[in-house]
Amino acid sequence: MRLLGLKTFRHGVHPPESKDVTAGMPIRQFPFAPVLVIPLVQHIGKPAVPVVTEDMEVRRGQLLARPDGFLSTAMHAPASGVVRRIGLTPSITGKMVPGVFLEPFPGSTQEVADGTPCDLEEATPDEIVAAIQQAGIVGLGGAAFPTHVKVKVPDGKRIDTVIINGIECEPYLTTDHRVMLEQRDDVYQGIRYVLKVTGAERVIVGVEANKPDAIEHLRDGFPSDLPGSVEALRVKYPQGAEKMLITALLGREVPSGRLPLDVGAMCINVATTAEIGRLLPRGRGIQERVITIGGPAVKDPGNYRIPIGTPLRFLLEQVGVNEDVHRVFMGGPMMGTAASTLDISVVKGTSGIVAFHDEAAERTHKHVYPCIRCGYCVDACPIFLNPSVLNLLAASEQHETMAEEHHLMDCFECGSCSFVCPSHIPLVQKFRVAKAAVRKARAAAKESAS
């Protein structure tokens, strides 16, 4: 759909972008923490299996853990150092997960170990898929779905268009923006790998119009061997969501409960693409990623290339935070998760760390009014659900009705409804609870049936 000359999707919201502070700041290297904690589950799928033992010395980039089956991925050492311990560590979800505690050598030059290169010309599509898995690449936009699983097109399906997602619609985050400006060639090299794996005919790089420098930079250097274009989109949240982006760019709708490849499209985050292009030619694995550290409580905000496994406590000490810091979350403020402890680490899916102090946090502590049926949520929901009706049903715990008649399970928790609600009803949280209840009930029903 086109509006005012720029493509976009229907509905959605306009949160304050809050990107001006960090958008112009080049990516800086973040120092190594005294101890890096690398969780073995940083992705959707089975935990990786450690191939190192306690007290073993490892080199930066060396394999720490191998994938356990296809739906799993590899972990690499973010620094040269010694493995102190392999044990449980807290994760952002609140669960304890197995992790590798690595103590970097202070005097090391921290050279990165290269592995077996995956040559674009010579490698077969299956070899590229295997190389992506060995590189431990997952969706860096936040979902952390293993990229090699995503790019492997199942038999009988066909992808005609690959969409490179440079939308970055979350407020405060500017990592994808910087990657597009500073790693253009990596992005294009990554696209070549992805096109070869998927067999897609063309690529569209989608960037929101609030990043004109990135759009211009990408267009200027667009390689003649790549079939495709860079498309500017109208700024709107949640345009970075796969379904919204596909609809905005291609006018196709992903059927309820199906995947983008069912409509011949595939979305890959731009930073993920850049990592494919940067790591595969050298046979390296992910040992660091680019994140934005920002928010009103951060004294030295910026975009950093940070080692995977950096604990939040060390991270916040380095950038400095206000005395009255109140809330820290991983990811952007619309969909990010609040940290309950500072002992959790930056993982592959962490696109940003945002910290709010009291005043900024208080804005959400508002009095909850009854629903006045204003319909703002109906106009905001990008999936065209009716959050107001779902809210009434949630109050009486009619979870099955919510799922069966009102498409609850299509909600991807973008938070647009809660954002606009003038009654400050925690709509999306109610839907999370209801979705979990539906999943539980359905699993139980399946079990009793079998």
Binding site: P15, R158, D160, K243, T247, G251, R252, E253, V254, P255, S256, V263, G264, R313, L316, V321, V325, R327, V328, F329, G331, P333, M334, M335, G336, T337, A338, A339, S340, T341, L342, V354, A361, R363, T364, K366, Y369, P370, I372, R373, C374, G375, V378, C381, I383, F384, L385, N386, S388, H407, D410, E413, G415, S418, F419, P422, H424, P426, V428, Q429
Partner: protein
């Protein structure tokens, strides 16, 4: 510092930011949008207008406060919604209405129209119209007796009926009563100049007289995205189209569309009462249906009904059909619609 931080970290679920919009902000802006109309009502009807509006707002606000206290809940005056109810209710009343009747209707509006259903957000009908409908049924004569606007002595005296002793019959001996433009047309086929009706130099309810000021208030709310523009457009559009057809068929029997649009309570009702968020549908298509229904009912009641004016009942019937409209008209969910251009 960091150790202190870990102790005070607050865990909340996303989204971590919200838009600045709030129920009390929206409601307060509706009050603001009604201010010009209110001021003009007081200017046009003088002391009687001021007293009617004051008693209307006062009785509504007081009832809400007392009922909140009686049910041991915090007072809800801060959300401004009852102020709107009071204002709208007052603006629909004849300026010479005995004040005790105004007060009784105000209590009914809030107690039976709103609190009984559970307060803000749960009232199926517009409370202001519930109060007025009660008065219309209980005191039909007083509710259809009109004093002229811009009386010379309006700032120094009030009609005798205004201060009538409670529970006594209102006496209108000392007042020159006039018919409203709609009644003139309905019963005597006397047409009032559309321009006079638009500007408000006519007789009628306190706030129904100046269509232009009401329109300005409505435009303000639409500009701030605090009102569904579809509802007034659908209502006024329906009235305009149908009355044009009727007037074109027989100009002597049917009033002109311009007159139909600006006369009576149509403008106030379409802009401020039919658009009450609580009682109107939530989907865009639902809003249009609802507006067309109300517009159609206005024409039917005004043209073929027993009363000269039908906006109040049209909106109440519209409110009543809202749950049904919302049940029928749901947004077409993404991914369940016809696939466009899928390969």
């Amino acid at each position: 510092m960091i150790s202190r931080l870990a102790k005070t970290l607050e865990i909340r679920t996303s989204p971590h930011i919200v838009s600045g919009n709030s129920v009390d902000t929206i409601m307060f802006n509706v009050v603001l949008a009604l201010a010009p109309t209110t001021a003009f009502a007081i200017y046009a009807f003088g002391l009687a207008g001021l007293l009617t509006l004051g008693v209307a707002v006062g009785s509504c606000v007081l009832t809400e406060h007392v009922l909140c206290r009686a049910s041991s809940r915090p007072s809800t005056l801060g959300d401004w919604s009852v102020t709107i109810t009071g204002l709208l209710y007052g603006l629909t009343l004849p300026p010479s209405l005995p004040l005790w009747m105004t007060a009784v209707g105000g209590v009914i509006a809030v107690a039976l129209g709103k609190a009984l259903f559970g307060g803000l957000g749960f009232n199926p009908f517009n409370p202001a119209l519930v109060g007025r409908a009660f008065l219309q049924a209980a005191f039909p004569v007083a509710l259809t007796t009109w004093t002229p606007s811009f009386a010379v002595d309006r700032f120094v005296s009030v009609p005798g009926s205004t201060l009538a002793f409670p529970l006594t019959e209102a006496v209108y001996v000392d007042v020159v009563t006039t018919a409203t433009p709609l009644a003139l047309w309905k019963f005597d086929r006397v047409a009032t100049a559309t321009g006079d009706a638009a500007m408000g130099v006519i007789s009628g309810s306190t706030g129904e007289t100046s269509a232009l000021l009401i329109l300005a208030g409505g435009l303000y709310l639409v500009a701030r995205n605090m009102m569904s523009w579809r509802i007034p457009v659908a209502i006024l559009g329906t009235v305009a189209v149908v009355s044009t057809l009727l007037h074109w068929a027989d100009p002597t029997a049917y009033a002109s569309p311009g007159f139909m649009l600006v006369a009576g309570g149509l403008m106030l009702g379409a802009m401020f009462m039919a658009t009450d968020m609580v009682g109107s549908p939530m989907t865009p298509i639902g809003c249009v249906l609802y507006g067309v229904l109300i517009g159609g009912l206005v024409i039917v009641i005004r043209t073929w009904g027993g009363m000269p004016e039908g906006v109040m009942y049209a909106i109440l019937l519209g409110n009543a059909s809202t749950p049904l409209i919302d049940h029928w008209i749901q947004p077409a969910v993404y991914g369940t619609r016809r696939a466009r251009g899928a390969s």
